[in-house]
């Protein structure tokens, strides 16, 4: 393993896709997600000098969480635009096996829409767990809450999600 210090370009290449997927599932918009990735990378670039070797994931996802929270607060001060169509829908309609892909895309859209219905704290916990694949401990570190709170948020988020997807009241 190289002793070369970690650079923000390394972070971009190794974690960029995960950050993008996290951001997209959280905000439901590809352009906003791309903006968030750039903001996170900028913060990583500024913060790497001060980074102390330790839980890199915890550090990175705390930056990502803070960047998203700042963006949410900024959005609350100005009107938001409606969510655009999912970017992959056009591809699904034109590619071979379009029926299956369209069905999968519709299902994906329904799940995404159900995610967007969740309160932000629940949605973030669910996405960090089920999309990014972080442990409860890592989520707790990123979001700066106790592990018990993470456990509760994930569970309550899934209950609401299940209710939204099935059209039934939460279990």
């Amino acid at each position: 393993m190289s002793d070369r210090p970690l650079t923000w370009e390394d972070v971009a290449r190794t974690h960029g896709r995960k950050i993008y997927n996290f951001a997209y599932r959280l905000c439901g918009d590809p352009h906003d997600a791309a903006d968030l990735v750039q903001e996170v990378l900028l913060r990583v670039q500024k913060g790497l000098d001060a980074y102390q070797p330790g839980s890199f994931d915890g550090w990175l996802w705390r930056i990502t969480h803070n960047a998203f929270i700042d963006e949410v607060r900024r959005r609350q001060r100005r009107p938001t635009s409606p969510l655009p169509e999912a970017i992959d829908r056009w591809d699904a309609q034109t590619a071979p096996g379009a029926d299956e892909q369209l069905a999968a895309s519709r299902l994906g859209d329904e799940i995404q829409a159900a995610l967007m219905e969740l309160p932000y704290e629940f949605r973030e916990a669910v996405v960090m767990c089920d999309v990014v694949g972080l442990s409860y401990e890592e989520i707790a570190e990123a979001v700066a809450v106790p592990v018990g709170t993470v456990r509760s948020r994930i569970h309550r988020g899934r209950k609401l999600l299940r209710g939204a997807l099935s059209g039934e009241a939460a279990v």
């Binding site: 990735v37 996405v127 997807l165 099935s166």
Partner: protein
Amino acid sequence: MTHLDEVLSAYLDGEATPDEVRRVDRHTSECLQCRRRLRAISDARAAVRSLPTLELPLGLVPVAETAPGKRRRVVWMGAAAAALAGLVTAAAIFTPAPEPIDLSDLSRQVGARAALDPGSGPLKIVLPGGLVGE
């Protein structure tokens, strides 16, 4: 009997303690309601996990160029490459293909013009590539 709640998600995620795992196993073997709850939570969990992983948009992540002895240079190549590819594609689509030249037809046109207007000079034909024929 106390029904299970938050521990169900932790159980599915492998985040429950060994005691909690035993409790969930024992309880769900006896309680239909909690078995249904566990299945419902499992369905929601599986739904989110089934979402496709999206690729990063081009140009969002830098491509680093490194060469021995040279300073590390970062090039935001994705956007530039995408723009260039777009231009090339557009040029290929919107530039009409040259029509084949029918020399016998040209010859007929020259002959017809000479017959109608004997005073006209030789007709110059500019061919692709700058060649000039008469």
